[in-house]
Subunit: 244 residues, 2 copies
Amino acid sequence: MATREAERFSETGDLLDRLRAVGAARYHDKHPFHLKMHAGVLTPAQLRGWVANRYYYQKSIPIKDAAILSNLPDRERRRVWIRRILDHDGTLEHGGGGIESWLALARAVGLDERDVMQESLLLPATRFAVDGYVTFARTQPWVVAVASSLTELFAPDLMSQRIDALVEKYPWIDERGLQYFRKRLQLAPRDAESALEWVRAFATTPELKDACVRALEFKCDVLWAMLDAILLAYGAGTTGPQES
Amino acid sequence: MATREAERFSETGDLLDRLRAVGAARYHDKHPFHLKMHAGVLTPAQLRGWVANRYYYQKSIPIKDAAILSNLPDRERRRVWIRRILDHDGTLEHGGGGIESWLALARAVGLDERDVMQESLLLPATRFAVDGYVTFARTQPWVVAVASSLTELFAPDLMSQRIDALVEKYPWIDERGLQYFRKRLQLAPRDAESALEWVRAFATTPELKDACVRALEFKCDVLWAMLDAILLAYGAGTTGPQES
């Protein structure tokens, strides 16, 4: 029994290592657009292009999470997961939520909230990537879909780096617009913790482990593809947008 | 303009009439099993069969509602709809919820909660009907899926009749088990009100109106088919279960 326990832990240790390796290789903190953002060289138009496109991702998160909620077979886990939706949508009683905070960021970088909500700046490639993520969440076994959320393991480092960069290097952005990122600093670790616990507990076969690793790669691809589209359309710093 | 307004109202009036007509013709308050329940002639085994089978419906409600939530495009409506899931699942902070109340009813009628949760008494036809309802919610346009929930328009009358019948005619049932129905007396009208408002506002074409009427018929069929299966398996009062 002790041996089996030990095996189990070495197996889950291995899965965690593999998940962390995906983040080290493919998480979008290493994307040129983010590197330029942190270096402080993005123009207001480039930052606005990012905020307006990323809005489509933000507004799709609760839809994605409701799809996963609907695939979670027991209410104990649904009680945990539903907090993600409330965090992003806000509530009838208190309003608020991540989508509202993202619109505050949009205003803070000088965008017209209506343009953002009408998605007039949304690039097709952003839409394809985000819609692909929602479809993945709808159609994959819940543990695999949950694994795709594990980019949250890597998010806090990126968030704090981003907050520092935006405050120091883009003083023209109203600081109240950064509330979304400050909030994610608290929420991402909480969310990642339960998601990781479920993945480790339920992805017990080699096939499911592989599927969870691939799910995280897929999610990194979603985030990376969005930044590729934004870089292509707006450029990053002195790198102008590419000719089409 | 006044004429168009008048037309609009006569159209929605017409849709409401059609929805009410579906309830009058097909809602399961008229099913022989319920008539016998209210007449006070069900045996404990028959009531237990109903409670154990209906559990599968109860536990599927938040899954169905999460599927609809995931199809609702705007957060204002999701903030309204998510309350249904919280009502049935309860919350991490406070527990509770409709599924828990239904398990309390199961105990109150003398069932072992574990048998109910393991679904050892679940009839295939109950499962087919309920799974069909969840699939409908996942795959139909949100306004049509919402229309299928409008049996809640007819629920309060049935609930108060049921509470009276269970209290008066089945004194062996622990009254604390009836909390689920008492709670639905408050929640069903609140839920039906917003659902009806959305259906009237968004089902504006003849095709969508027809689809909403059919959705409510479909939902009535789900509830009716469950009772057919239960009646066939357990009988109702002196009507014994039919030979297979």
